[in-house]
Subunit: 356 residues, 2 copies
DNA sequence: ACCGTTGCTGCAATCGTTTGCCCTGAGCCT
DNA sequence: AGGCTCAGGGCAAACGATTGCAGCAACGGT
């Protein structure tokens, strides 16, 4: 027995006023248009009936759905849940809810989800999937819907975004490694068509240059995705080159985890024979053995800040797009140590250790 | 320059028909009410204009929002992202989207989120937060909104739900431990007011009974939440009792991770001095050292099945509530091994090892 | 005493779709 | 030929809120 929902009409009737008046009394912005006396009567009536405005009807009339579309690559990536939590918590405070869409890095799927959201008239988008050049962006802008970028930024800084200072982070990582005594440092760079991949790679080159170190091609690999598999593949590739190195800077923690697998397979121990440093300080990454040295920033805050930027736009704030950079913090854990005094593992390998 | 959205009226005009006719032509269920000829004209017009129906207006009229409210304790718990993905993927196939709400195990917050969703007229709920007795349940049912339970079940099986066979899983775990030679097995049980906590504890008792083993009170601890902290606290408590045991069955993987911390602190090695088994096979749990022996089931499938059950209800399927039990699979990894031949660590402890 | 102002409230249109109902014309049967 | 059914499609009323406009009192100023 579904109970009939109480609507504005009922509240108005109980308060003895016209629905229009009730509407004004209920909305804080228009409350001053009605006398305090009737406003109170309406409020009381609404409370008594347990009135909940019909969000759908309201959206239709006001053309605001109080819904935000959030596009992320994959919720299963542990980086995203805290970010999403931050977003949702902040949005909720302003009466908005988030619609989460996973794109799996697939352009077609991204477009589908985007359209779905558009049909539901989301008031704005938060994108964590933006490639450096992304047709969706121009499309959304043309439709007049505010967009905020998270974690990644647009080529020309033309959109509000919140991200971590990636370049600086990797420079910190490199400087940590060199101060431990490493000179032969490999790099597994992320995809170069997203801003994080690019900026971190630039950070690596800058850090190495600042230390006066070379970056030979055989110590460099480009992952096609920020995934464990790619990290594994890339480190294998570097090891296969047969030239010694004592540390590797990975484009993010997932790639670093892939490195762990490749090291295991090669029978190399971390950090004794190879130091590894990641980026992101994902949840649970500190539970690995060895716990990963990485660059941390508040994921939750990325979410709340992105929400803040978007809410600003939604409430009419115009002006130039703000780009927020969070400062990363180097968290030194067990995966980095001074380079071994032992003969390089490449020598050991030749003498039969290290397995297939 | 926001471009004006194309609406049904425009399509109708282009096709030279009345909006009502266009509506019927566009809806596959009513298409047979218009001649094939006009239907095609309408379809063509819609395609040409890139018509996207206004979901809000439709919802208002049809009283179906094609939105599902999903309540989970915390997205940050790695168990949930795959479940949510399963849900979303399955729902999307039927044109539904999910609204995710995190309750943080807080009743007040749960109620707020629930109301929020009700105001948005969600067509159904999927709850992963259900306590054995939950006022929200009766409320939703009274409002005539279908509800499906995930991961946990209702006291009396009165609601459709999908869960893993918890009791059986833990019996498998216990039998694995006993077959390794363990006899002194501790248990860290989860909260007893949720079905998972209760069923797994029952499974433990059943498994021990089947093996003819005792469960003394000092080898039993009840966690107040499925958290790392509680796991840590509980194992500490058991170790503090000073009575030997060689294995511990934890109520889920989070509790097991807490056990790892307690063992580290006590200077005990896993699995040499203490075997640990978890439940859930959370993402990344296999990356720990040692990799955790645990009970696996497809989280993704929990989501898809829950979605399926709900969609069934939404399309009018009545009948008794189905309760789906997935079969767990024991994944043996490095955290379990035969009990040590060494003198019990409790002896070692007395002789000064094992820290403060 | 009259007029303008101000403060409150009601009226009705509107947002974009869906759907019950009615109308029209064609086809068919007797 | 008349009356029947029936398919096809238009009309208009919803769904439940918001909001421009107008009415209407009370009030104050000259």
């Amino acid at each position: 027995m579904p109970e009939p929902a109480v609507k504005l009409r009922d509240v108005a009737r109980l308060a003895g006023v016209h629905p229009a008046t009730a509407s004004r009394a209920l909305n804080p912005d228009t409350r001053l248009l009605v006398s305090e006396d009737t406003a109170n009567r309406v409020l009381a009536a609404a409370a008594e009936l347990g009135y909940q405005p019909n969000a759908v009807a309201r959206s239709l009339r006001t053309r605001r759905s109080h819904t935000i579309g959030v596009l992320i690559p994959d919720l299963n990536n542990p980086l995203f849940p805290p970010i999403v939590r931050g977003l949702e918590d902040r949005l909720e405070a302003d009466g908005y809810v988030a619609l989460i869409g996973n794109t799996d890095g697939d352009d077609a799927r991204e477009r589908r989800v985007f359209e779905q959201m558009r049909a539901r008239h989301v008031d704005g988008y938060v994108l964590a999937t933006a490639h450096l050049r992304n047709p969706l962006l121009t499309e959304a802008i043309r439709a007049g819907v505010p967009v905020v970028l998270m974690n990644r930024i647009a080529e020309d800084n033309s959109l509000p975004s919140v991200t971590v200072d990636n370049e600086r982070g990797v420079r910190m990582a490199v400087s940590h490694l060199t101060s431990l005594g490493h000179r032969d440092i490999a790099c597994i760079a992320g995809p170069q068509d997203v801003s994080t991949g690019l900026a971190r790679y630039r950070g690596f080159r800058a850090g190495m240059a600042a230390a006066g170190l070379e970056v030979p091609a055989h110590r460099l690999a480009f992952a096609s995705a920020f995934s464990i598999e790619e990290g594994y593949r890339c480190l294998r590739q570097i090891l296969a080159a047969g030239r010694p190195c004592t540390a590797v800077a990975a484009g993010n923690d997932m790639l670093a985890v892939g490195c762990y697998l490749a090291l295991d397979e090669a029978g190399l121990s971390c950090p004794d024979e190879m130091s590894v440093v990641g980026f992101n300080d994902m949840p649970f990454i500190n539970m690995l053995r060895p716990p990963l040295t990485t660059l941390a920033f508040s994921h939750y805050q990325v979410g709340t800040q992105a929400a803040r930027l978007l809410l600003e736009r939604l409430s009419g704030g115009a002006g130039p797009a703000k780009v927020l950079y969070l400062t990363p913090e180097l968290i030194v854990r067990g995966s980095t140590a001074p380079p071994a005094r032992l003969p390089s593992y490449f020598e050991l390998k030749k003498s039969g250790r290290g397995g297939p």
